[in-house]
Amino acid sequence: MMNSNQLKQLLEAALFAHPQPLSAEQLRQLLLNGSETSLTAVKKALDELQQDYQERGVQLVQVASGYRFQTRAELGQRLAGLWQEKPPRYSQALLETLALIVYRQPITRGEIEQVRGVSVSSNIMKTLQERGWIKVVGVKEVPGRPQLYATTNEFLDDFNLKTLDELPVIDSPDEKRTAETATNERDFLND
């Protein structure tokens, strides 16, 4: 049996060494399989680690696919000096396309074009897919059976989100669709 300090050391080392996020359950399975350490103990240790790193240059954050260490966001600009390449800047067209997929998913390319009033370049869709931020989740049963796009967990991870709900709402409250959506959501919950 491992004491709580050993457990913290192990989890800390694992999350430092593994750049992809790991969930508490994954950590338990991969590192503590066969030991009697409970999921609760793992979560408690992770909480403590998060506290320990609160004021440090790296921080333990929780995103959609689990926990990971990352450099403190406020240091971004200064740290950029470490790399030759400049961080990517995305065009307004790409961001609007991404926003439509984020806020109106699942959505077809035609629907994106309808809102933006301009055809979506294949390059943009390719970039978004290559980054792993969007994926095809099905087809819409209308003539032509266009593909439906949605965001991935990788999108949430890369934008420091646990769920899409963490993004601010974009519909102004006086709009009809808000009331409609609210009703739909209620119906959904009552199902």
């Binding site: 080392a13 999350l15 430092f16 060494a17 593994h18 750049p19 790296v58 990971r68 260490f69 990352q70 450099t71 403190r72 966001a73 971004g76 740290l79 961080p87 990517p88 995305y90 065009s91 307004q92 067209a93 961001l95 609007e96 991404l98 926003a99 439509l100 984020v102 806020y103 109106r104 809102v115 933006r116 009033g117 301009v118 055809s119 991870d157 890369d158 934008f159 420091n160 989100l161 993004l167 601010p168 974009i170 519909d171 102004s172 709009e175």
Partner: protein, 270 residues
């Protein structure tokens, strides 16, 4: 005649910084840059409305359409492929304008259909998406604001590859496949034997590896009962048949000895 609208010369975060006086010459390159900052006709339209400091809902179709068409005219000269989507919007604006001008038929319905309503709705939706794009942009991003770990670990040196797992089912499936192959090769005749017989054959051979001679009776164990005796007997017969062992008996009724069959041994040459 409304006054000629001036063009923005440059943008900082989407907002125009310099208004072009009417008579200033803009090098075509610079104009292209300006036009490229619009992400589409909706963006241009929204920009024009905002510049008038007007609410989308009050959409002043006439002014906006004129300004819009002006921009599109310039685009057509400079970047033809850019203009196609913009022309669709110009056509839509023209349609709305003409519907506003036409005398309205008497309405039975109380609610009057404003031809601008659809465009207003689309502009609002577009504006919402613009907000969304901004929220996403502001979100801390990996690779822009934060970076992930690149630290060293010796842990990978300890990774071992476990041996493949085989199930009983894998094994029986493999054997069925072999049997099917045999069936295809018609000249092969394979007879099914009790597996216990095959296993006993292996055991007998193994025993003979360590002992030159083995007494026949040693191969029968009382504890195995009659069934065990039968298995041993069948195994011995099969081994003899396959010329893997030979039996010898010094005199009638004496103990039978078993030994591995040698190819050129004195028994055969005798």
């Amino acid at each position: 005649m409304p006054e000629q609208q001036s063009l923005p010369l440059g943008f900082v975060r989407g907002e125009p910084v310099i208004e072009k006086p009417e008579d200033l010459y803009i090098p075509p390159d610079a104009l292209e840059v300006i036009l490229e900052t619009f992400s589409g006709p909706m963006d241009l339209l929204l920009y024009l409305i905002r510049r008038q400091k007007l609410d989308i809902v009050e959409l002043p179709v006439l002014t906006i359409t004129r300004q819009y068409v002006e921009y599109v005219e310039m685009m057509k000269e400079l970047k033809l492929e850019l203009a196609a989507d913009y022309l669709v919007m110009a056509a839509m604006l023209a349609e709305i304008k003409s519907r506003l001008l036409l005398p309205k038929p008497p309405q039975e319905d109380e609610e009057e259909d404003d031809p601008r309503a659809e465009l207003v709705r689309r502009l609002q939706e577009y504006e919402a998406i613009r907000r969304g794009a901004e929220f996403i942009e502001q979100q801390p991003q990996i690779g822009r604001d934060s970076w992930l770990s690149e630290i060293k670990t010796d842990a990978k040196d300890y990774v071992t590859v476990p041996p493949p797992e085989v199930t009983l089912e894998d094994l029986t499936l493999a054997f069925s496949r072999v049997l099917n192959t045999i069936k295809l090769q018609a000249h092969h005749q394979i007879k099914r034997e009790q597996l216990s017989t095959r296993a006993r054959m292996s055991q007998v051979l193994e025993l003979l590896q360590h002992n030159h001679y083995v007494s026949f009776s040693r191969l029968f164990k009382r504890s195995e009962g009659r069934a065990g005796a039968v298995v041993s007997f069948l195994a011995i017969l099969e081994l003899v048949k396959e010329s893997m062992i030979e039996l010898s008996q010094m005199e009638p009724m004496s103990d039978i000895h078993i030994r591995l069959k040698r190819q050129h041994d004195e028994f055969e040459s005798a």
